[in-house]
Amino acid sequence: MDQVTTIEAFTATLKRDLLVAYKRKNDIFNPFMFFLIVCSLFPIGISPDPARLGEIASGVLWISALLASLLAMDSLYRNDFEDGSLEQLLLSPHPLYFLVLAKNMAHWLVSGLPVVIVSPLVAYMLSLPDDAYWVMFLTLLLGTPILSLLGSIGVALTVGLGSRGLILAVITLPMSVPVLIAGTLTVQEALNGASLSGYMAVLGAMFFGSLTLAPLASATALRISVT
């Protein structure tokens, strides 16, 4: 039998997950819709006044993206757990780290990236000042993968449980605080006209830190949950 290299296993997992997502389009559509709907609730709940909206827009976008990513998280391992393919993944001879990374990546491409892409439009609707569009977009582009990677730990810990929804939120949301701080601060400082390289560097450090460490924790958590 031909040996499959780890890189091949990584791309195969990535392709499979993207294909599965493509076949069940709800998983792509729902987080995206959720993001749009939550963002449009804020002007109704708080104030339609553009000046006030502009002040809170960055926070609204970030918190909505955080909640959208949280709600999308549940589908990361659940279907695979229920049909048994997650166990096959654990049994594979390849490092689980890369397989988990592939699954996280596919999941972010499907649920996180659409949110990032639509964010400038929503930023316009929430009257975020023009200067901050790019920064908003870039922080979300760097930030939402971190949210996915961190959320993956929580999902992996709770994958076998009956009632996951709330416990997942209780575990994941406090962990996301530093990312939320870094993201919203960067946008705020862009509005103040400050230099952004330091802020982006912090976000980048968080991104690479979670890219290297979070899949390890997710992999360990999966081994604990799936036995």
Binding site: L161, P174, I181
Partner: protein, 247 residues
């Protein structure tokens, strides 16, 4: 060295050694607690700036300091659980989480009592310590929630161990990021400068007694909870049944 380590992991050995130590620890705790509380709440002279509110601080500082020990403790216990699969470490960790949540809550409560007098507000987002303590409280509660959500004891032990390690790292990151957020988000607040500097030696001596007392309280209550857990989990073993029969 490894013999000692293996011994420590045995619940029976821990139960027996703690039976010997507990009366001493508990009586030391009671004496220090009474001395500390009476001294702090009744006899500490009023501070010239803060008058009698420093009396709250004596308890607040002691509880706050102890509450910071919980996540490192749980992370170490979690590592031992995951690596050496030691039962005792998980029993300690299981009861450390809710106890730590209580300590954090008392820290927040005494802190806002003091703040309501000195700062004129019960809650202040511009103070980094308040905010990071709040999130430590949430993270400890999430460990408790995960523990009760997973029914299989072995699985919940390992899952909570992992969450404790991740949480411990996260508490540190949250602490620094909240400080950063505070420095940059608002102009520096006039609030947080007003404590600490004016306190005399008496305040620190009372606080020292209180810190010792609270640490002992933490050790004693954790040991008592762990002993209960040992009896419950080892209820089928002979030595536990003997203890139950003789008592």
């Amino acid at each position: 060295m490894w013999m000692w380590f293996a011994k420590l992991g045995s619940p029976r050995w821990f139960y027996e050694i703690s039976t010997k130590w507990l009366p001493w620890l508990a009586s030391a705790m009671c004496i220090l607690m009474i001395v500390g509380i009476v001294w702090a709440l009744l006899f500490l002279p009023p501070d010239y700036q803060q008058s009698f509110t420093t009396r709250i601080l004596v308890i607040h500082v002691a509880v706050a300091g102890t509450s910071l020990a919980f996540f490192p403790l749980m992370a170490v216990a979690g590592t031992i659980t995951l690596v050496w699969k030691m039962k005792l470490a998980d029993m300690v960790a299981k009861h450390a989480a809710p106890l730590g949540a209580w300590f954090s809550f008392v820290t927040l409560a005494t802190g806002s009592l003091w703040g309501s007098v000195m700062w004129g507000t019960w809650w202040e987002w511009t103070d980094a310590r308040l905010v990071s303590m709040l999130f430590q409280f949430f993270l400890l509660l999430s460990v408790v929630a995960l523990r009760s959500a997973i029914e299989d004891p072995d699985k919940s032990a390992k899952a909570c161990a992992l969450l404790s390690i991740v949480g411990c790292i996260n508490v540190v990151i949250i602490k620094y990021s909240v400080e950063w957020w505070n420095v940059l988000h608002q102009p520096s607040s006039p609030l947080s400068t007003s404590n600490g500097s004016a306190n005399g030696p008496e305040f620190w001596m009372a606080t020292g007694v209180m810190i010792l007392a609270v640490y002992l309280f933490f050790i004693v209550s954790l040991t008592l909870a762990t002993r209960n857990e040992i009896l419950q989990r080892e209820r089928r073993s002979q030595w536990v049944q003997e203890i139950v029969r003789t008592s």
